[in-house]
Each structure stands twice: as C-alpha cells, then as structure tokens.
C-alpha cells in the first residue's frame, strides 16, 4: 500500500528531504497546474525539522511528516484564506479550523492552500478568482471542482494527502477527474469549524489520498466530536485498522446495490468500466442486486434550492467592514452594495440572488420549504436501501472531464454534472470516489455510498475495489 510504505520510508529516511522533493515538484509544475493559491514553504520547512526530531525520538504523531495541502476555504492560522475569491483576496485567517488543528497535532506538514472554485460554487475548478486549476493528467482539461487544487495537488505529487470539502460532490468530482481517492464523510463525522460556508446543512471537510490507506489514516485524524460544531458526533477512530485488517471475507459478506437511475445518461465507456468492476466484486463473492431510486432525477433541483438558500444567508457576512475587499460608498447601504458588486464573481452573485429570492416571505413556501420536504423524501429513499444493503455502487461522474472553458457560460449544464453526487449530501450519508480505469488518458472514478456513519463498510468496499484494480 502506497501511503503505508511512504510512512515507513519517512521513519527511516529524511522528512526534510521528502518535503524538498514536493517543493521542487511544485516549483517545476504549479505555474501551469495552478493547484495552490498560497504556499506555506517557510512554516512547512520549520515544522519538518521539528517533526524529524520527534521521529528521531520516536514520539511522532500519526501523520509523521506527510505533506498535506488544504483547500483554501479552511482556516489555517496566520495564513491567507481566499476561498478562491476576490472578496477575501487579502484576508489572513486569525485561527485554525478544527481539522487544521488536528493535522498539526498529528504532525502533518501543511504545504499550502489549494485553489478552488470561488466559494466552492462550481463543479470544474475554473471559477476561481486566481485562475483555473488544470488537470495534471491533461492540462487542456478541467480537474473537476470545487476542490480542484486539492485533487490536482495529490495527482501531481505536490502533496501526499489533501483536505477538501464536499457540499454536493466537491471532493468526489475532482477525485474522479484527476484519478485520485476522495472521501465525503457522513454529515457530522468531521467538524466543520473553520470551513467557510457554502451550504451548511450539506457539507463537511474530507480527505484526498492516493489510496484507501491514506484516506483511512486522515479520517482517523480529522473525525470526531467537536464542541465548536454542534452537528458533530462521537466515533471510535478505527478506520485505519479496518483497512489494514481487510480480508477477502469482508467482501464476501457484503450486499451491494446498484441503481439503474445512477447509470442513466452516463457516458457508455464510463458505464462499461464501472460495470466491469461490479462484475469483479461479484466474482469475489459480493451479492450484487439492482434497486430503484426513482427520486434521483429530482435531486439536482432539490440540492440547488437548498444550496442557494443557505449560501445567500452565509454570504451576508461579507460587507467589507470587518474583513475582505471593500469598495466604499456614501452610506452604509451603498458601501455594502458596492463592495459586494465589485468583489463577487458571476456564479456567486447568481446564487446569492436566487437564494435571496426563494427565501423571501412570498416565495419561500413555493421553493425553499418545498425543497426541504422533497429532501426528506430523498433521505427516506436511501434509508430504505441501506436497510437491506451495505453499499450502493455506481460511477462518480456522468461524463469524462471536459475541456477548460466549455461549460462555464451555462449554469444549468454545469449544475447537471452533479447529478450522481448530490444525493449523498442531501441524505447526509458517506460516499467515496476512486480511480478504476481511464478513457483516452482521462481517469474514470467509481463511487460507493454507505449509510450515515457506516464509514467502515465504505472503506472495506473501497479496499476491495482497490485490490480488484491492482495490476491493471
């Protein structure tokens, strides 16, 4: 296992040397890929020395010098945090997000802050104020979004692991497009404290890695109850053990569902690769059955109505007085309106305006309240499935990565690419994406879902697929 071997390597070799190799790689290629908005080289070098000392003394933390990049909507104390927007171009975070804190405690080296779609409003990594991220597998193509820089930094070997955030696929989509592992934890498993809001009831931070082991390792570090996030829950943090102790028998006892709705409109080549993997799991003894999720076709409107509403509320805080870009004006009304007009990008404005509209007294019942009732129906659907099955399997994305610039002008086309990922967020369950093949050099991702707080099942499924793909 790649990440496990790497940690063993670090214990016997030099953490500083390992970091330097990453820095070299970044210097060589990040001008083109644009995975980072802010680098943290000096601090990283400093902590690499400290961690090396700890390793020599044998008291290093779980991450023992692995190089980690963090999406730029998560706070790292005294480091710039832009959320990919002009709004926060010069904002220095005064505190650490809970996940940042935990990574530091376990001796991860924070190498920098990753590029992303502006305020996570995008599905292909091209709407950042700091320019698009490019797909390391082919720089003419989008890397997926919104955690574009996180996925790209792992794919391009700029970092060993990364933290992104997933509101409706923002980890799984770029993981799929860049050919790395991405994991969206169950809602409440990982603290959101320090994660800039997009849609609060849907999102949370999650890990990127090159393998299941890396995902489980990071999940052990970042999960758990946090007094600074009321939705978090207790867990036993034994994910790495689950992966390390994986046995063939684990998959034999699994009941895996696939829904035909998850294959409708999916690119034929992607469909075939995923079906092939499903076949391999079956040959290993898993019970595979077809189920129906008839409400999936409503998930995009439900999801976006919730997103618009919560996002417009969350974005109210940006008035330019306390922090962020400020344009000024004659009075408090004009100053705020000017500030917001001149600093927010088109998709951000679109969502703020639509969200304001659908939560206004006279339109709220028609849109916001209705979406919440429909959301409940989606949750009930998944509950039904997971009463009988351990996992739900399918592709992560309906298409291969597209060329940069192709979809940015049509919001509905952009929204539609999230069709396979948003349901997990609506239901609050966990889901993953991992590379299972490629088409014309572009990666294809397989998505697994498991019930809320059934992360161990999901990791077993990922490990089984990972093993099935070895030697490909």
């Amino acid at each position: 296992m790649f990440t496990r071997d790497l940690i063993e390597d670090l214990l016997s070799k030099s953490v500083e040397e390992h970091l330097n190799k990453k820095i070299e790689e970044i210097e060589k290629r990040d001008k083109e890929i644009n995975a980072f908005i802010t680098l943290n080289i000096e601090e990283a070098e400093k902590s690499s020395k400290e961690i090396q000392k700890k390793i020599n003394e044998g008291n290093q933390g779980k991450l023992s010098g692995l190089v980690i990049s963090i999406k730029d909507n998560l706070a790292v104390s005294n480091l710039r945090m832009t959320c990919g927007s002009k709004v926060l171009e010069n904002y220095i975070a005064p505190y650490d997000a809970t996940v940042t804190n935990l990574i530091k405690q376990e001796d991860g080296i924070i190498i920098g802050k990753c590029n992303m779609d502006e305020f996570a409003c995008g599905s292909d990594g091209t709407s950042s104020y700091f320019g698009p991220t490019k797909n390391p597998r082919n720089i003419d193509y989008v890397p997926g979004g919104s955690s574009s820089g996180s996925a790209a930094s792992v794919a391009a070997d700029f970092s060993d692991l990364s933290i992104g955030s997933d509101t409706g696929g923002s980890i799984r989509c770029p993981a799929s497009f860049c050919g790395v592992y991405g994991f969206k934890p169950s809602y409440g498993l990982v603290s959101r404290y320090g994660l800039s809001d997009m849609a609060m009831s849907l999102e949370g931070p999650g890990p990127f890695a090159k393998d299941t082991y890396g995902i489980a390792l990071l999940l052990d570090v970042i999960s758990g109850k946090d007094p600074r996030d009321t939705v978090t829950v207790e867990n036993n943090k034994s994910y790495l053990k689950t992966v390390e102790n994986f046995k063939d028998n684990d998959i034999k006892n699994m009941k895996i569902a696939y829904a035909k709705e998850f294959f409708e409109g999916v690119d034929e080549k992607i469909k075939n690769i995923v079906l092939d993997k499903i076949g391999m799991l079956e040959s290993q003894g898993a019970k595979i059955e077809e189920v129906s999720l008839p409400n999936i076709k409503y998930s995009i409107p439900i999801y976006y109505l919730v997103v618009f509403s919560e996002f417009s509320s969350a974005m109210s805080k940006f008035d330019g007085f306390k922090y962020g870009h400020y344009a000024g004006g004659q009075d408090i009304v004009e100053a705020v309106s000017n500030t917001r007009e001149t600093s927010m990008g088109t998709e951000v404005k679109r969502r703020v305006l639509l969200g304001t509209f659908i939560t206004m007294e006279e339109f709220k019942g028609r849109w916001y309240t209705k979406a919440l009732k429909a959301r409940n129906a989606i949750k009930e659907d998944f509950k039904r499935i997971f009463n009988s099955y351990d996992l739900l399997i399918g592709p992560t994305m309906p298409t291969l990565p597209w060329k940069i610039g192709e979809r940015i002008s049509d919001p509905l086309a952009m929204y539609s690419s999230d069709i396979l990922t948003v349901s997990a967020n609506l239901a609050g369950i966990c889901a993953s994406s991992q590379p299972v093949g490629e088409v014309k050099g572009l990666p294809v991702g397989l998505q697994l879902h498991a019930d809320s707080l059934s992360e161990s099942k999901l990791l077993k499924g990922m490990r089984a697929v990972e093993i099935a793909c070895e030697g490909m």
Partner: protein
C-alpha cells in the same frame, strides 16, 4: 410551469435585500436565467412529499454548553488586522445621520 413571474421590480427588490448592486444589463441577464432555472426546477412539484421539512440530517438535539469562566481569544490582533479601517480600536464605517 413557473407561476412566479420574475419581473424587473422583483429583481430590483432582490438586489436591494441582498445588498448587491446590479447593472441594467446584469438585471436582464439574471432575470432571464432565473426564470429558466426555476422553470426547470419546478419538476420538484412531481415528487410526492410529506409534511416534514428536513432541516437537519443528524439526530443531535439539545447540544448546550456549560457556562464557565470566560476564555479570551488569544489572537485578537489578527482579527483587527483584517478590519478595513481602524481608529482607536473601532472599525470605521460610514456614518448614518
């Protein structure tokens, strides 16, 4: 069908409430887009729903915090560094006479 007609007056009001100034061109562009988006989104009317509105996907309730001795934040200066304009430790904003 979208029974909510989004006219110029509505867009104007939304832009005021959201404190987001829009040019005439933007107003027209967004108005047209919003009608198209909501038209497409109105398929949610087909879905059979109950009365329950799902606000929270977790079961947590009553997450209260014990009151205890205050713990002052240790990096207040970094908060102040981000103030747009500061005078005697106050944030300076336009007056409202």
């Amino acid at each position: 069908m979208v029974e909510t007609i989004i006219n110029d007056r509505v867009i104007e009001r939304v832009s005021e409430i959201a404190r987001l100034k829009l040019s005439d061109k933007e107003k027209e562009k967004f108005r047209e887009e919003f009608e198209r988006i909501l038209e497409e989104f109105s398929i949610i009317d087909e879905i059979k729903v109950g009365e329950k509105e799902l606000y929270y996907v977790v079961e947590n309730v009553n997450v209260l915090r014990k009151d205890s001795k205050p713990k002052p934040f240790n990096n207040i200066n970094s908060i102040k560094t981000n103030f747009n304009k500061i005078e005697d430790d106050f944030i300076v904003v336009p007056r409202n006479l």
